[in-house]
Symmetry: C2
Amino acid sequence: MRYQLYYWGEIQGRGEFIRLALEDAGADYKDVVRSAGSDVMDAYFKKRNGPFACPFLKAGRLLIGQTANILHYLGPRLGLAPKDEARRLWLHQLQLTIADWLVEVHDTHHPIGSGFYYEQQKKEARRRSKDFLKNRLPMYLDYFERVDLGKFSYVNLSLFQMIEGLEYAFPRAMKRHRRRKLLENRYRVRIRLEKYLTSERRIAFNQLGIFRRYPELDA
Amino acid sequence: MRYQLYYWGEIQGRGEFIRLALEDAGADYKDVVRSAGSDVMDAYFKKRNGPFACPFLKAGRLLIGQTANILHYLGPRLGLAPKDEARRLWLHQLQLTIADWLVEVHDTHHPIGSGFYYEQQKKEARRRSKDFLKNRLPMYLDYFERVDLGKFSYVNLSLFQMIEGLEYAFPRAMKRHRRRKLLENRYRVRIRLEKYLTSERRIAFNQLGIFRRYPELDA
């Protein structure tokens, strides 16, 4: 199967969680927007039964939206999730918890709304970040340090991405929150994906993405 | 199968999306916290492979967390989703979009963080609500007015809940945003669920829930 991924071409963002799974599996896929431009997504957004937002994936006749839903579909097909229902539900539950965590990371720099620039909500971003780093971040880290991830799956890849992103955005805060298993997972994935991570296909973290480095928001 | 639902007993919140599905199907379930108190959830939160947050559902030996994941599991079992994968993925995609929408509704009154009282973020809540009502709400309403929901499913129940909640929280704004199909769906579900909705099992909307009526945040 040849997959077609649709997501913004300038950022890692939510699309990166899909890219990591496709790359790790050595899947045959096209990152459509990166070669054709983001306008190609418009036709899908206008479709009656199109997705509400990107990323979305074309897989044969299927058009699948929502990051966690795409990974739920791809998991067993890419050898990145077992096939039995109970394990799939568990991995999906973890992935949806990662999705909640990611929204909270985004909202550290955009607490008032995506329609405003960071500069228009800087004061609010400071308050939200402080609360996030103090109260929410340790809860998520402790949770994912504790749970049993089972056999290597797309959840390992997504947790790698969360830790990479958080280290980029909040290097000082993350120094205070080292979690052994999460760091081990990070290095394990770095080795598995070295070829991809050092290629041009891996977009660098930047100030347009979900993980942004604003030193004034860090601990 | 006897299901056991775990969710806060004083609010509709995320648990209500599950309750509506169980009630509509006439399923055999226990809303555990409402009779036993919220402390019964603690043991599950402490479990190594417990859920990160509620709601969660016990179904035989399965323990399932994340609202959309629970509905994905329950759907075909309750006759509220077809069994074929493509349709299930589509419904789940819609449900995850509803979940995103719900977070945005919550954040209208808590843009800085759940750890602060509303009164501590009232000014920020005003800004965020204004942006939500102007830019985000119409996008979501238009999207769900347009898409094909197919045969009656748990998504119809969740959309009913969104419209009920939004009418409670933002009565003035919602007058400007009437969507025919969404209103038809609302009345259709009201009739189906009349017995539940007029029972004591349906908790009333209140100022502890996700949908809150703060007139100063309305249009």
